[in-house]
Structures are given as C-alpha cells and as structure tokens.
C-alpha cells in the first residue's frame, strides 16, 4: 500500500517537472512554429542561476528561483529578438538556430564555471515530508505546488489578459490575428519569454536535487520533446496530460527496472503514437 502511495507521489513529482518544461516548449511551438532546441539550455541556466545566487551568494532560495525565472525569461526574449525571429516559421531553420544557441550557451557556461564534477547545491528544505509511510524531502515536493501555481498563472494569463489571448490567437491563425491588429512578433517574444521562464523555473527547482553541470539540458530536452509530441505540439492541455502519462510511466519503470529502459520505453511509446496518430493524443489532424 505504501509502495503505491510512494509511487503516486514520485509520479506526481516527475509529472510536475515534465509539465513545467514541456508546457514552455509547447507554448513556443504553438505560437512561433519552431522548436526551441535550446530549451534544455534555458533549464540549465535556471539551475546555474540558483547555484550562483543561492549556493554561492547565499540569497534566500525563493528569491534565487524568482531571479532564475526573470533572467531566463529575459534570455528567451532576447533570443527571439536576435535569432529566432529570422527563422520565419521554418521549423528546420529554427531548429538549427537553436542548435547554434545550444553551442553558444554551453560553451559560455563551460568557460565561466568550468566543466568536470557536477556542482552540488545544498537543499533549501531538507526536512523530510513524511506521512503514512510515504516520504520525500520538501525540496523535492515543492515542484508540485510551484508547477500548479505557475501553470495556473499561465492559464489565467492566456484566458483573461489581452496579451494572453493575443498569444492564443497567433497560435491558432497568425494571418487572421495579424489582420486583427495583433502583433504576431510581440506574441512570439512573449511566448518565448514565458516558455523560457518556465524552463528556468524548472532548472531552479531541480538544482538542489540534481546538481548542476553544463550539459544537464541534454537529458531534459528529449523527454520534453517526447512529451509534447505525444500530447500534441502546441496544445497545452494535451501536453499536461502527456506529462502525467510519461511522469508515471517513467517513475514506475525506473522503480521496477532501470532508467535506461525507462528512456527506451518513452521513446518507443512516442514512436508508436506517431505511427498511429501523428498529431499526438489531442492535436488536430493535419491535412
């Protein structure tokens, strides 16, 4: 019984983590029609921000996370302005540009802080959270409420705010949106700002758990891709659902077998979904 409870808790934590990263990626794809392959690096920089501010400069953890959100968000905004804008919705170009950005960011981090042993970040909330035999640390647990909070805020923004609705309109039909006076460029910048901020937040929260190193983005990005493909790229609800699916799938398989097989299974699930229903679980059929 406890095993099930523990698994559910672990599954929820993993799902939240996936959701935080994948939603940002899917938002960007929906509005800009490009895949930000550097999304993993934004996650990495969020983690490094926490390492620098919290572990080395002893800021309060919360503040460091907030700073990560803002810094990475700004980084995303700049990337759109300087780089992705020129892709003009061409998926391949956007991807390769993101590849270039990956190289740049990784090298920058390596030069500044070096590569080598991973740098641990002390846990901010090391106390154990324990009930009914199920336990985890608060540090790991907070990813759930933070994700709910951030995604809730995102939903609120997309639903109630003009800029948010403009984003949705741009995603659905850029030409119609432009005719309505919506600045598609502004929507693109906003999308990348928000998407990157979410990735940065994920990195920030994960820093104490996973330690930081320049290539930590790599492991994350492909899982994120798997999630958004299965959920339907550009579709936030679908992405959240897919995050739950893969969060639990990965947790269960890793517990029973090992993580390499879990990766393998994730990849195979995606291949199967692509073969049967290329638009993902909830996406719209392309003609």
């Amino acid at each position: 019984m406890e095993f099930i409870g523990q698994t559910i808790l672990n599954g929820l934590m993993t799902s939240s983590f996936y959701a935080l990263i994948a939603v940002g990626l899917t938002l960007v794809f929906g509005v800009m029609h490009i895949v930000n392959f550097a999304h993993g690096e934004f996650y990495m920089i969020g983690a490094y921000t926490v390492w620098v501010l919290y572990a080395k400069m002893h800021w309060p953890f919360f503040l460091a996370v907030l700073a990560a959100l803002i810094i990475v968000g700004l980084l995303g905004f700049l990337s759109e302005h300087l780089i992705f804008r020129h892709a003009k919705g061409n998926v391949l170009s956007g991807f390769i540009m993101a590849v270039g950005l990956v190289f740049v960011l990784q090298t920058a981090v390596v030069k500044i802080w070096g590569v080598g042993k991973m740098k641990p970040v002390p846990a901010a909330y090391p106390q154990l959270l324990d009930f009914g035999g199920i336990s985890t640390s608060w540090q790991r647990f907070i990813v759930i409420p933070v994700t709910i909070l951030l995604l809730g805020a995102l939903w609120f923004f997309l639903d109630r705010f003009r800029l948010g609705r403009a984003l949705r309109a741009s995603a659905l039909n850029p030409e119609a949106a432009a005719l309505q006076g919506i600045s598609v460029k502004k929507s693109a910048s906003t999308a990348l700002l928000i998407g990157s901020a979410l990735a940065g937040a994920a990195g920030a929260l994960m820093a104490p758990i996973m330690s930081v190193h320049p290539y930590m983005g790599h492991a994350v990005i492909w899982t994120a891709f798997v999630v958004i493909i299965v959920g339907g790229a550009g579709n936030i609800k679908g992405t959240v659902l897919a995050s739950l699916l893969f969060g639990f799938l990965t947790t269960i398989i890793t517990t029973l077998l090992d993580s390499t097989i879990a990766n393998l299974v994730n990849v195979l699930v995606m291949l199967v979904v692509l073969a049967i229903r290329p638009q993902g679980l909830t996406g719209h059929a392309e003609h």
Partner: protein, 343 residues
C-alpha cells in the same frame, strides 16, 4: 561533351595531386585528421541524399553506428574478413535504414525530425543497455583490418595506409552517390520534395522512394561507420550520440544542401576552421554556434549559394550572350544538354 569549367578543371587536376601527396608530407596526427575528414565527407554526402526527399534525419549518426557495430561483430566475433565485412555491414545499416525508414516516410517536417531522433536513440539505447552483444556502455573492440596476406608491407594499423584505404572507399562512395543524384531517380527524389502531390498524381510512389533514399543513405553512413571503427579499434555508444549529429547538421546547413557538393564544402571548411582554431579549442563550439546562427540569418542557403550571390557583381557591365556555366547542376546534365545532335 560539355565545356569543362575552371572549377571542374581544378578538381580534376589539382585535387588528386593534393590528396595523394599530402599524407607523405604531414604528421601522423594530421593524416588521421584527413582520414576523419574523408569519413565525414561520406557522412554528409549520404545525409544529403536523404534531405533531397525533404527529410532531415536525426538518425543518420546512429545508422553510422549500426555499420560500425555490425562490422565490429562480423570481424570480431564472427571472424569475417574486412573486405567482406565492409559491404556487409553497409548492407546491414541499409536494411535497418529501410526498416525504420518505412514508418518514418509517413511523417513530415517536425514529426519526421523527432521520430527519426527517437528511432536512432532507441537503437543507441539498445547498444548501451545490452552488454551482450553490444558491449553496453563500454562498447566493443574492433580488429585491425587484414586485407591481403600478400601485401604484408601495408600495415593498416598505421595512419598512411589507412588513409589511402579510406580515400579509395570515399571516392567509390561519392561516385555512386553522385551518379545516383544525377540520374532520373535522383531527380524523382528531388521532385518529391518539390511538389509531392504532383509526383503522386503521376504514379510515383513517394513512400517507396523516400524509403529508398533513406536506406541508401543509411548504407553509406554504415560504410563510413565501418571505416571509422577499424581505425579507432574500439567503438562505444557515446561516439554516435547527439553531439555528432549536431555537428553533422551544422556542416550541412553551413555548406548548403541544394547541390551535391554543398555539404562537402561545409564539412571541409568547418573542419579546416576547427583545426586552425586548435589553440582556442574550448571556444570552437561557441564559434560554430555563432557561425551557424549568422549563416541562417544572412546566407540561409549555405556556402554553396555564395558564388551565385557574388557572380552578378563580378559580371556587372559585361555583355554576355549566354548564361555562365552553372556551378553544380541539381539536374542531370546529359538529359538536358542543349548541344545534343538530334535537335
């Protein structure tokens, strides 16, 4: 017979001289570099074949790995001689390519990207996970190629003989790929990218041709993998990981993929650049990243499009009766030859 342009004369005359003499004047390390360059040239050219149908396959490097692992197993565990293992491993890679190419052919654009990555990654994960027979994370040992008993003075464990072996294999591969590109089948592949619906409506089975392109491309990637494996004497999964794929993409995008030689320009120039920048080795990824971003913004068709952009400035003011000899045709020469005698 068409007039040979200056460029073609250069390649026919100068290049072989360089290719053959260089190894004797360079250090062992540099000869190995050239060998690697040749392997990468095979890689980009075979990759380009797949892109002519419109697909950018992120599984190409794992296909190379398939060839490498196949040869390691053939020559190592099964004792197959190198000369047989080479084409056999290529065929293995080609077969695997056909197998995954079929479901992949039904996807497009972004889905093709991710699906090809997934397929490649699934293969790579199997190498990592299964110690038997793939050796798991630590990989496999690969025997030195033993070619002809009689040619005992040629030691293929050293750089120079191996370089010539690689050169021979590369030239054969390029010849085949080039012929294919210029043929009607090559055109059909490009037609599929140009206007897929039109090809379908005149009876071309686009899935079949996409699979053909994918598996032939994978075959040559496999060959490249075999050549790499037998030089390194050991292979492991991380060599065929995503970083290598990223470099492949950078080479091809930088050089351009619309012409046959575009990707070759890309890989040669960037490899040269990386070598020149060796004192700054840690900065190279960043420099490459910046180069590729700038290329996509300012020269999106890659290096190969540069002559086309400069030419109007060179010929300004000059009277021309006919258009300048085209640099590299993407269409078959003999088929459209204006000088054919029947007309």
């Amino acid at each position: 017979m068409q007039n040979i342009s200056y460029r073609q004369a250069f390649f026919i005359g100068v290049f072989p001289i360089i290719a053959v003499s260089a190894p004797f004047t360079l250090s062992g390390y540099k000869v190995d570099l050239l060998t690697n360059l040749l392997i990468n040239i095979m890689l980009v050219s075979s990759f380009r074949l797949i892109t002519t149908t419109g697909g950018w396959s992120l599984a190409h490097i794992p296909m190379m790995g398939c060839g490498a692992y196949a040869s390691a197993l053939f020559t190592g565990a099964l004792g197959v001689p190198f000369l047989i293992s080479l084409p056999l491993s290529g065929l293995t890679a080609g077969l695997i390519g056909a197998l995954i190419g079929y479901p992949l052919a039904r996807t497009k654009g972004f889905a093709f990207f991710v699906a090809s990555f997934a397929a490649g990654e699934a293969i790579r994960l199997s190498w990592m996970r299964f110690k038997v027979p793939f050796g798991g994370h630590s990989g496999l040992m690969v025997p030195i190629p033993d070619l002809f008993e009689s040619v005992s003075w040629l030691d293929f464990s050293t750089a120079v003989p191996y370089y010539f072996l690689t050169l021979l294999v590369t030239l054969i591969c390029l010849a085949v790929l080039y012929r294919l590109d210029r043929s009607r089948i090559g055109n059909t592949l490009k037609a599929i990218e140009s206007h897929e619906d039109l090809t379908r409506s005149v009876g071309i089975n686009r899935t079949k041709y996409k699979v053909i392109a994918f598996s032939v491309g994978s075959f040559f990637a496999g060959i490249a993998g075999v050549v790499l494996a037998h030089r390194l004497w050991a292979i492991e999964p991380h060599q065929f990981g995503f970083t290598t794929t990223l470099y492949l993409l950078v080479w091809v995008v930088f050089g351009g993929s619309h012409t046959f030689s575009g990707p070759i320009y890309g890989v040669v120039s960037l490899t040269l650049l990386a070598e020149v920048l060796r004192p700054l080795a840690e900065w190279v990824p960043m420099i490459f990243g910046a180069i590729i971003i700038l290329t996509l913004i300012f020269l999106p068709d890659g290096l190969e499009s540069l002559p086309g952009k400069i030419r109007p400035y060179l010929w300004k003011g000059k009277e021309r009766r006919e258009p300048p000899p085209p640099a590299e045709e993407t269409r078959p020469g003999p088929m459209a030859a204006p000088e054919s005698s029947e007309r």
